[in-house]
Symmetry: C2
Subunit: 216 residues, 2 copies
DNA sequence: GTAAGCTTTTACCAAGCGGTCAATTTATCG
DNA sequence: CGATAAATTGACCGCTTGGTAAAAGCTTAC
């Protein structure tokens, strides 16, 4: 009778039915599949509804628009995505911190490639939905960690280098294995494209960054 | 009267009118803009026709389908994109070769960001149109250059490392500045996001790879 | 049970999409 | 010039798209 009122009220009062909780999760899971594989524009509500095992109007009962699904997905991913960088500890040993950051980012590329591609898609299209988040929270976090790295370099614990571009290079090299997966597989060929490629990548990247940052 | 016959005949005989030459170029230029900004699915023929300053039927007079435009664009980009890697010279000095490869790739990210994003979009979507090209010509080229790098490592000219992941890391770090441009700008902030960021990146990357690959 | 609210579906719509057709305008060349 | 081929366009088509309306089914609490 009240149609969408239930969802609207749930949103206001933060109180959700068990079904609402479950179905919204189901939808987000399905949407992650579809959005990460086809981008925002390439994804269709029919595909998502299908993947979630429900009808399109039913899907739209839980999320009012396609954009609403996408926005919530992006928000969620953005948070978990920056977790490794947040864990970056100024008090820790520089070498160990950087090494473990690389390892964690690479593990995320391996274990959450959909999340990585969702994010990559968004940035590639010019980040129309999250430009503010990039310029605000993200920039602040990076600024903070860049200062840590700069301090390490000043006190001679690692080589002098531009901390921002260091972070960029760790992001790009690790995410490459999720975002450009098809290319990586194609180039490595059937023989070397097994899951072992992540261990090889880890070994290479740790070597590169550890030697590249060693004080000289 | 003959409608599309002219184009078909031109395709067979390889003889094109001046107008055909010009207009096809105009269309590809416009399509590069649109495809790189929105991806294949996100781009519309109306947008491309608009950007090319002609009507949609007129556009379809020169290219029979949307995919035909995209295919030709991808083919063209793929060729020029691998130019720097082809120039990689087994006879050259390892350090100079790698350094100049990084520099050239970074210059391409700076000067041809649309081409980079077009390619990135295609790979992100699972490379539906070019998987064969990746597994064939691309893989062969990389295999060849990987052998060169491996030989350098064996003869002690550079540090031992996995040549494939070395190439991946150069690709990813350099293309990052084209594909993730919005993010890079957002994080660097207005003060540091000028064109100088490419020089900073070049300095950092050359340092990282040169030290990371130094024999030890 | 039953009434109230929550969930789901069938049928539908307007807009946007890639692409076609037929007719008109423009260029080319003897 | 005039004729023939090439280039261009407005009108249109069928399909897909995101989204809606309304009613039917289902849960839950009393």
């Amino acid at each position: 009778m009240l149609d969408r009122m239930a969802i609207a009220r749930a949103a206001r009062t933060q109180r959700k039915t068990r079904i609402q909780e479950e179905k919204q999760e189901l939808i987000l899971e399905a949407a992650l599949d579809v959005f990460s594989a086809s981008g925002f524009r390439g994804a269709t509500l029919d595909q998502i509804a299908d993947a979630a095992g429900m009808s399109k109007p039913n899907l739209l009962y839980y999320f009012r628009t396609k954009e609403a699904i996408h926005r919530q997905l992006i928000d969620r991913v953005l948070t978990t995505w920056l977790e490794p960088l947040r864990a970056f500890d100024a008090e820790g040993k520089p070498e160990a911190e950087i090494r473990s950051y690389i390892r964690r980012k690479l593990e995320m590329a391996r274990d959450f490639p959909r999340e990585s591609r969702l994010f990559a898609n968004e940035i590639l299209q010019g980040a129309p939905h999250i430009e503010d988040e990039l310029k605000g929270p993200l920039k602040e976090l990076v600024d903070e960690k860049a200062e840590v790295i700069r301090a390490w370099a000043r006190s001679g614990k690692i080589a002098k280098c531009d901390p921002y571009h260091l972070i960029f290079s760790i992001w790009s090299t690790t995410q490459h294995y999720a975002d450009f997966d098809v290319q990586v597989r194609a180039v490595l060929g059937q023989a070397n494209a097994g899951e072992g490629r992540f261990e090889d990548a880890a070994r290479f990247l740790e070597g590169l960054f550890m030697e590249g940052l060693r004080v000289r």
